[in-house]
């Protein structure tokens, strides 16, 4: 029983204040789950905020957080992570089901391909990559809606594209803070 509790505490990373601070390992559950849960929370955020918008307005928070983690920590996730997280996003985004799963998968593959070109990268270059991907993802979302339903003209998502691009550094900031907490021993 005691051993079970100890394992649980180790997994959750709680109640370790009185242990030695030297040679500790970070909690594996927190390390693995924090990025995933943050993306899922981002997906749920847009359909939880008390805002009945007459026009596409809010940035796709799930996608922003996904791109931030992926560009900040290459190799943390396998390349197929876009599929499960995209499917979860599809539950909430109001687009035809599978739309985010498809677009996010393609985004992850695109970043893998970009990583093949081993050029030096900094925050601005990551922001540029994210901006292009956000723009393509939003336009693709509109195009997919158009396949299934009557869709509005492309010009109405231009403000949303700009807002999303400007939100990206904020998402990186958030992810960096979460990263620090996630890897803390």
């Amino acid at each position: 029983m005691n051993q079970l509790l100890a394992t649980g505490r180790k997994l959750l990373g709680t109640g370790r204040e009185y242990e030695s601070r030297i040679d500790r390992e970070q909690s594996p559950a927190r390390m693995l789950l924090v990025p995933i849960l943050s993306v899922m929370t981002g997906s749920m955020a847009t359909s939880t905020l008390p805002l009945v918008a007459g026009t596409p307005l809010l940035p796709p928070f799930g996608l922003l957080i996904l791109l931030a983690w992926r560009l900040m920590r290459p190799g943390m996730w396998p390349a197929w992570i876009g599929l499960p997280l995209g499917l979860f996003d599809d539950l909430y985004n109001g687009q035809p089901f599978g739309s985010s799963a498809f677009v996010w998968s393609l985004c992850m593959i695109a970043i893998e391909l970009l990583d093949l070109r081993g050029v030096w990268r900094d925050h601005l270059r990551d922001w540029l990559i994210a901006s292009v991907l956000i723009m393509v993802a939003l336009l693709a979302g509109l195009g997919i809606t158009e396949l299934a339903y009557q869709a509005p003209e492309a010009s109405i998502i231009v403000p949303q594209i700009f807002v999303s691009i400007l939100f990206y550094p904020l998402a990186v900031r958030l992810c960096a803070h979460l990263d620090g907490w996630r890897l803390a021993t």
Binding site: T46, S47, T48, L49, P50, L51, V52, A53, G54, T55, P56, L57, L58, P59, P60, P74, P78, A79, W80, G82, L83, G86, L87, D90, L91, Y92, N93, G94, Q95, P96, F97, G98, S99, A101, F102, S105, L106, M108, I109, E112, D115, L116, G118, V119, W120, R121, G141, L142, I144, T145, L147, A148, Y149, Q150, A151, P152, E153, I156, I157, Q160
Partner: protein, 301 residues
């Protein structure tokens, strides 16, 4: 930052293969997602059950946020009402005076209307068509579809296709339900095409959303386009879904083939909305009860 070095996992075959497998899985995942997407385009209601479950998860949080927003919005409103009290009082008095005559005219019209109906032997029962009353708690604000989430669902009798209105005017119709939430396709969605009439002269037209909060109104008769700013359109009741005479939109400006209008009831500011029974169904219900009331012997013959 130096280029990421995870690309080459070293000389270990196992590591190389597992990296390769993740790439294969990523591409397979994209293909699977593409297939799912095609299925959902072919059958848009196919994944409704999944989404209904998901909506139930976030609904309590959304309701909580909605309550907070309402109380915060209330603070601003109350304060400004207090500050403006004097000028508002004067304006309201003027308005009351202006409305008095209109009210009397309306009363006269109502009496006349009733007499005309009696004359025509037309019996109109005001069937109780309100199914449920709820709040719009949130929306899919990052999607290009305009869908709002309503705080009542199928357990309150809400079903797909039911029209939704606020006190001021039409809001939209129900497209998905779960036990305690429903998704409302708002008027401003491009998918929502609604038969309307212009109020003073009854000019029939079709309205469809533009996706940015405005509505395009196109007259059914292609001819002289004489829409003017400030004209009001209401639902016409044709098509059998939306009940007639629900205030719909006011014309903002004339365009080449119709008019650009703005919905009268803003979904963002509507406190409570009512889910109604589809118009034809309500009419059919009246007819059915009338048929049942007939003596059995006559219906048997």
């Amino acid at each position: 930052m130096a280029p990421p070095r995870h690309r080459r996992p070293g000389f270990s075959r196992r590591a190389q293969y597992s990296l390769f497998v993740t790439y294969v899985l990523a591409i397979a995942g994209a293909i699977v997602a593409g297939i799912l997407l095609l299925i959902s385009i072919a059958d848009p209601t196919g994944f409704a059950a999944l989404r209904a479950g998901a909506a139930e998860v976030t609904a309590p949080v959304a309701r909580g946020f909605h309550a907070i927003r309402r109380s915060i919005a209330g603070i601003g409103e109350n304060t400004s009402a207090y500050l403006d009290a004097a000028s508002q009082n004067a304006a309201l008095k003027r308005q009351v005076a202006a409305n008095q005559t209109k009210l009397i005219q309306a009363d006269a019209l109502r009496v006349e209307n009733r007499e005309l109906k009696i004359l025509l032997n037309l019996q109109q029962e005001e069937a109780d068509n309100v199914v449920a009353i709820g709040n719009l708690v949130s929306s899919t604000a990052s999607s290009s579809r305009r869908i709002a989430i309503l705080s009542v669902g199928s357990s309150d009798g809400v079903a797909v296709g039911y029209p939704v209105r606020a006190a001021r005017g039409l809001i939209g119709r129900v497209i998905e339900t779960s036990p305690t939430t429903a998704k409302i396709l708002l008027l401003s969605d491009a998918e929502n095409v609604i038969p309307v009439i212009r109020v003073p002269d009854g000019l029939p037209a079709l309205a469809s959303g533009l996706g940015d909060g405005t509505i395009m109104i196109r007259p059914v008769d292609l001819g002289v386009n004489n829409f003017k700013r400030g004209q009001v359109v209401t639902t016409s009741g044709s098509g059998g879904l939306y009940p007639p005479n629900i205030p719909f939109a006011t014309v903002v400006r004339k365009t080449n083939d119709g008019a650009l209008a703005r919905p009268i009831a803003s979904p963002a500011s509507s406190e409570h909305v009512m889910v109604l029974r589809p118009y034809q169904q309500a009419a059919k219900q009246v007819l059915d009860t009338a048929l049942e009331a007939l003596p059995k012997s006559e219906s048997a013959e």
